[in-house]
Symmetry: C2
């Protein structure tokens, strides 16, 4: 601890060990964070240099005051081929909380070095949801070995969580929660919390249940703290509550947390019995992921995880590029139909790319808006027609302006009125095609229960390219355009 600020050294208090770690970084001399709250390259290098030099104690002294999320960062920022070496130097600090914070790929890499007993030991120290997150990604055989090495209670909890669908509330929830009977007073609740040392300390609300363990209300801790002991808990609790079905998709869970500004919520089984709790800190990650991944999916970049093994990334992106190659070939074959016109008037070849490109851009704009509105539940059956009409008007307005602009500009440049009329008209038509495709394709895919973020772009671009070329070159051929 020699080099760290005194203020960040752990002090005695009646809490779990990991709660003692500092959250704010120690101040200089060796401030490990850059302005973005990430570890600075100098800090990462300093740790790695100590490890290289065999100065394990010095490396540990640097890392000891860090929050688990920062220790996880340290591993992510370390080049892949040096992570194992770092892990063995810092073995004692690489605890369950750090594992829970690690990027999936980096975690998997480090866990390969551990035996099932060690993984089981790590998992046992975690909340159910974090333990499940670690175990669910393992190969089935490894998973069984780890489960076999766990205590029966922990094992049962994990196995139950794994029995729920991936990305469902059941995987996300933790089982440690505070549930009290509805006939208790505030004083009863306070005594219960003070006298039972093995209860969780990670809770923000108390769930009130009836004799059948059905949730009947939720009580913020601040309400309990502000009420006299003799008041009935049933009079303090909020009776109406947002119950999350155990099989609800995590994206819906996240949207519900966001809509109703929830801090925690009760998870119920199909018989409406309380089986777990989801807290907002677990949901925050999902909101971030789900909102961000649409941009990546629209571009066919998969998860966009920069820690993913490179071969998987290459394969994922290549599949998408090959699909796009198919659509590019269809567009090229349309151009091929008009080879004679192009040979006679090569300027058409230079200009056709403007028609398809402007359509592609307009289509992508509409697509991004529609996919986003679908993902955030802003686009519902109540306003679908309004959205289509809105996008059509935008396409008509933008298409007219661009068509006039391009028609006029090309007339000034080439002095060919027929060419300019064909050019401007093709721009307008392709904008309308783009607007219609940009809104109809994702809506149709959503209705067919295909993720519109993944597959919309390829259809929309195919339409704007193919029909853009066809409109422009077809009009040119129809009017017998020549230079």
């Amino acid at each position: 601890m020699s080099e760290t600020d005194l203020d960040t050294a752990p002090r005695e208090k009646p809490l779990r060990d990991e709660q003692l770690r500092d959250i704010t970084p120690p101040s200089p001399p060796e401030a490990p964070h850059d302005e973005d709250d990430r570890l600075s390259p100098e800090f990462v290098d300093a740790v790695l240099d100590h490890v290289d030099a065999g100065e394990i104690d010095a490396a540990r002294a640097l890392v000891a005051p860090l929050h688990p999320a920062d220790i996880a960062d340290l591993f992510e920022l370390t080049p892949a081929d040096r992570r194992r070496q770092l892990a063995s130097a810092l073995a004692e600090m690489l605890d369950a909380d750090v594992f829970a914070e690690l990027n999936d790929w980096v975690r998997e890499e480090l866990m390969e070095a551990l035996g099932p007993a060690e993984v089981a030991e790590l998992a046992t120290q975690l909340d159910t949801d974090d333990a499940v997150a670690i175990i669910e990604d393992m190969e089935e055989e490894d998973q069984r070995a780890v489960l076999r090495a766990m205590e029966p209670d922990d094992r049962a909890a994990i196995e139950e969580a794994l029995s729920y669908p991936e990305e469902s509330a059941g995987r996300l929830m933790q089982r440690d929660l505070i549930a009290v009977p509805e006939h208790w007073s505030v004083g009863d609740v306070l005594d219960y919390l003070r006298r039972n040392e093995d209860l969780t300390t990670d809770f923000w609300e108390v769930f009130v249940v009836d004799h059948g363990h059905h949730p009947v209300g939720t009580c913020k801790l601040s309400w309990i703290l502000r009420s006299p002991r003799n008041v009935a808990i049933a009079d303090v609790m909020q009776r109406e509550q947002s119950l999350i079905p155990v099989d609800m998709d995590q994206e819906e869970v996240a949207l519900r947390f966001q809509k109703y500004a929830l801090i925690s919520a009760a998870v119920v089984d199909p018989n409406n019995r309380l089986v777990g709790m989801i807290t907002v800190d677990d949901v925050v990650h999902i909101i971030q992921e789900e909102a961000g991944e649409d941009a990546l999916r629209l571009s066919g970049a998969g998860d966009g995880d920069i820690n993913e093994p490179i071969l998987l990334t290459v394969r994922g992106r290549l599949i998408w590029l090959v699909v796009n190659l198919g659509t590019a070939m269809i567009a090229a074959s349309v151009v091929g139909l008009f080879r004679d016109e192009i040979a006679k008037f090569a300027l058409l070849a230079a200009l056709m790319g403007i028609v398809s490109g402007m359509g592609g851009n307009a289509g992508t704009q509409t697509l991004a808006v529609v996919v986003r509105a679908l993902a955030t539940n802003q686009l519902t059956s109540s306003n679908t027609f309004r959205m289509i009409y809105r996008e059509f008007r935008i396409a008509a307005a933008n298409g007219s302006v661009l068509g006039l602009l391009i028609g006029t500009g090309s007339y000034l440049l080439y002095g060919n009125p027929l060419l300019s009329a064909v050019f401007g008209l093709a721009i307008l038509i392709n904008n309308l095609i783009a607007g219609s495709a940009g809104v109809m394709v994702p809506l149709t895919l959503e209705r067919m229960r295909v993720d519109p973020a993944v597959s919309s772009a390829v259809f929309v671009t195919m339409m704007t390219d193919t029909l853009g070329f066809f409109t422009f070159l077809g009009l040119a051929a129809a009017v017998g355009l020549t230079g």
Copy 2:
């Protein structure tokens, strides 16, 4: 209340009025939610039909059991030209909490009908952060009128908040929080909370401050509840804490909440004095917005807010399309350089779009990954070089596979080995260009403090289009390719 489920009717309890509203929707006969937690079109229509028929009481009875977030939804899902009518029918339910949940554009529209005194009244009922959110978007003159109509205390709080930069922690924080001196015991804190009726009930942690009002620790309510009365609060609190500077950008605030799984955090002024508190529910919206808006910005679709007045949307998108028109013209002029080659061998015109298109797709993939990694602080100075190298290898791998595939395919199709060599090589080169541009452009813009999500795409596409055409047609000209 006649048509609603009995279970959702408000009951007596010692809480604020708005906390009484139900969060779970009433069950049938008239269940207002669809599977996405949004109001069903049938419900919206039912309310609007009652309003049209002048059956105001029936409309109110339907809406009364709704959560403020759902009442806000109702207004958003109502066609724009009927919102005012709905607002006057439901005037008494259109309270401050509903306004806080409304989409910015819809809120502005409804507020135009209100006078400054009414807006001031609404703002007074809200937490500072929500009041600021309502007032900050108003025209300066209206803002002044509203502030003048407020009580001096509320006015001072709002004016102070407005003095901080937009999208900073100072705008986001609320001033109502619980701060206690460090020498108090747990019992003192409990007594203080119980005896002061006008304290806020919206808090999850208690901040411990020294005599100069500097935060020295944070204490989760669950720790207070689980500790005996005679324990010193200083022994229960977490001494190390994440203090948010009042001028921190909201995006950084959100990332910090996410990284350290915070529920609330103290906001401090430059002298490190406690001035406010940010809670996770306010941050959740920001995480969602910031993560989602990159997809929209990359496509030039602005905010993508489906409630934005259509003329603003048209203008925003048109600017982007005109910028893209400029780059498309540059690309077209490159094609124009090779008009003679195209006139001699029109197939080149059909195939050149495949070269530029494949490059564009690959560039967009890289771009989406890099922009996302920058936005989530995953890409830092520690791993920039690794990222560039990684993207270069991906581009080389994908370019080689696609080049070989396209070279072989085109040879089978056209039997022209020289054409196929040129075609395949151009594909490989353009993939390398795309990979380099996709990673270097956003990194350069970020370093120049320009938002890479807004402006990267246009540069990357310009490079893949222009250089793609140039490589393919230039190689073809250089080897004297003919059909």
